[in-house]
Amino acid sequence: MTDRPRILRPSRRLLLGAALAAPALRAFPARAAGEVIVRTPGGTYDDVMRRHVYDPFTKETGIEVRPVAATSAKLLAMFRANNVELDLIDTGDGQLLTLERMGALAPIAYDKWRWSKPEDITAEVKNQYRVANFVYCTVLGYNKEHFAGGAPDSWADFWNAGKFPGPRMLSDMASGSANLEFALLADGVPKDKLYPLDVDRALKAMDRIRPQIRRFWDTGALSAQMLSDKEVVAGSIWNGRLQVLIDRKAPLAYTWNEHMIQVQALGIFKDAKNIAGAQLLADYMLQPEVQAKYSRDLIYGPTNTKAFPLLSEEERARAPGGERSRQTGFYQNVTWWEDNRDRVNRIWSRWLQR
Amino acid sequence: MAAGAVALEGVTKRYGAETVVADVSLAIAPGEFFTLLGPSGSGKTTTLSILAGFVTADAGRVLLGGQDMTQVPPRGRGLGMVFQNYAIFPHLDVAGNVAFPLAVKRVPKAEIATRVAEALALVKLTGFEGRYPRQLSGGQQQRVALARAIVARPGIVLMDEPLGALDKNLRYHMQVEIKEISRRLGTTVIYVTHDQEEALTMSDRIAIMEHGRIAQMGPPREVYERPDNAFVAAFLGEANLLPARRDGTGVAGPGGARLEAGAGTLPGAEGLLFIRPEKLGIAPGTAAEGPNSLAGRVRHASFLGNTVRYAVEVAEGAVLVCDAPNGAGTVLHAAGDSVLLRWRAEDCRLLAG
């Protein structure tokens, strides 16, 4: 899409954007002077961030922060319509990569940072146009009661329905990506040799487990619900979602073995009205003390290496990222996914309906 | 008893506190053209519905062809019916509509075709078989309804105001045709109408209904000329109803005029004398001459062509209507003229007030 002739771009970009963004354009009330508008996943996330990031930031700088929700398509539409209503984008790394490739983002001003030190940020998640504010991961979660006699501890175990029977779930493309990595791990591919993913091999492995798959989940809420309602007894699930259930005394558990780390990152629209404010907020958000606070509440992993020592032993045990992830987990390669999402989606849709 | 005989015995129907049909009994002979006549709300349509079986009577019996059909549902009664709105099926063509009563009885197709053709010929609709109701005029729809009612050769046909929706000319035409067809087929017809002229023209016998009761029953001429009560007298055509009272020597009218009636009596001290306008003779004069004569003054004269209608005021402010034939050499009276009205004792009746 990006390498197509650009001759007709401006007018088409305007036209298309206007069409799709029409409902989006009026979605947010007029901005206050100096305010930073930030896209967030919404929900309780906003409450945590307001307490630990936005309010202290306003107190320190006098700059107001307003979180708004927006889907991927809406972000895209805004950019195409030349009507960027947000400054800072707090979203999945893959989504940011899409925007980056479209030329929608401004570089992160690492040299102007005053609160955070660029060298403290984990190298894997520090890019020219996007910088991670936390990592989360997809783990193998299961029902402790169902697997009282021995729980699956690897994706090979998960694929072994004979030894570990029961209905299962994995993610659908509609959640962002399908769990092809886990299929390959189960099929014997070492975790440092996963990328580029062998899609055919992954789907062949998927064929074997598919009869046990009750559903491919498309939202985090659904995956949590299926596991807590015992619709499934095992499956891939985001660690934060699962931890909330465990903290509520659900008989669930997970293994850190072969977890897939995914990255949430910050990016700044190059056409944003308040680029300076957005840069400041990104800088503020990533400092060790702040990161430690919101990571603790969200059960996510800090990206600032200096934040880990600020967490208690118990908290570190729950958080993805850091040293343990380096040993037992792997980073999802968003670049590969970004390059192949179209193709995989098509193959996946066909495979689903076989 | 023959197939066409109909009888109701003590039939009563109530809706809540209101008695719609009150103890109605009647017997209709096979082949008779019988009319239920009455104003709206008099119970005639309910009586017909009880006959048809759409309405169950609270008391009494319904006998059709001598059999007790009181508990039999409509489809078991084997009646032909023409409905007020024709109730022609819009999704069926003419042939399909007429064939309906036969088709539901699973009559063989070939026989249906013959009988439908016969019925359509009878109502002069041959050639209209494939038309749909929406392509027909009101009169044609009426004929379809008629053909459908007779196609199964029922001994009894019920008709509920079948001509109500037609204009006057067409109505007259259809009256003749219905009568003609029923006579030809020998069918018993029970006909409901509120149109007294229609009832008089078509019927062998008429039952006049009032408040759910039969006020009088008899051949048209009898009910017209010898009404049993003031309601029947006034409902059928024009009637003069003069106040009458008993005195020492006999019956006295307005101004003490002597009245002699060929029939009827006054049940009490006071009542009415019934006399049709066309039975009154009118001549110039100023004083009564013997019984059944009244002197008066012409208040109003209307020229109607073959008759002249006079409104004559007599003693005590009573007004009589008199229809005088516009015969050869008739002298017309003008408003204000003094006239003398006379009539024959056998043309008038005494009725309860």
């Binding site: 899409m1 197509r4 002739p5 088409r12 036209l15 298309l16 206007a18 069409a19 799709l20 029409a22 991927s72 398509a73 899409t98 209905p167 509609a174 962002g176 598919r210 798959i213 009750r214 559903r215 491919f216 498309d218 659904l222 619900q225 299926m226 309602d229 015992k230 619709e231 999402r341 179209d342 989606n345 098509r346 849709s349 066909r350 689903l352 309906q353 076989r354 | 048809a52 079986g53 759409f54 549902p73 409509p74 489809r75 084997g78 009646l79 019916m81 409905f83 709105n85 109730a87 099926f89 819009p90 999704h91 309906f100 009563p101 539901v104 009885k105 109701p133 929406r134 459908r148 199964a152």
Partner: protein, 278 residues
Amino acid sequence: MPLTLRATLLLLLPALLLLSGLFLLPIGWFLTASIAELGTWPEILEEAEAVLLSGAVGRSLLTTGWIGLVVTLLTLLLGYPVSYALSRVRGAAFTAILLCIVLPYFTSTIVRTYAWMVLLGRNGLINQILLGLGLVAEPVNLLYNRTGVIIGMTYVLLPYMVLTLYAAMKAVDQRLLQAAEGMGASPGQIFLRVFMPLTLHGVVAGLLITFILAIGFFVTPALMGGPGDVMVAMLIEREVEITQNWPSAALMTIVLLAVTLSLYAVYSRFAEPGEAVR
């Protein structure tokens, strides 16, 4: 009184403006601009072939059509008696039935669908009852499979069928039914020879409108379906949200729109007033 063409247009103008402003123009733009992004005509055709003949779309169309058909027939089967009852009662009973049918529409589709998930889950109410009565030994899978999609969609679409049928049944002249009875027809014959033919246009209209709505369904199959229950609208949503391949989404939209519009053309023929009804 028949309206002149001008008066008719004038009366329709506000609705037309609204529709074109909020629907036709945006969707027209979306389709043309997205597809124009593909480049020249040969490039567009090549992409169309790749997208539409990829197998996923074809299969999804079959799935969509099949689910739509089953759901539509089920709504007819369930809706016909309900509509009949609705057309025959008055007063409180009428209000009660109508409310039962329409009430779910005051809640969002997602809430309703979640309610179904509570009922139909492996440990849901229905399975607990079945297990409790000893009718089944293992929980029955009513959710996250084709059965779930069909139950959910039938429920959501039933009101459209019921109300369409109700309109047709209410228009049936009751005197025709009485006439048929008087002419010797049994209750079965009255239904088959009179009532059903007179409501047939309503049945056709109900089938078409329900089917048209069914094939555009997205939320219910996405929430209640199993791995293979991919309807076309879900594919389109993925292209828009996940891969952000709008040209591809536009091509699929055109296919779905074409199917819908051709069905609508059939529908408008049957919904023609004054033809079937007197």
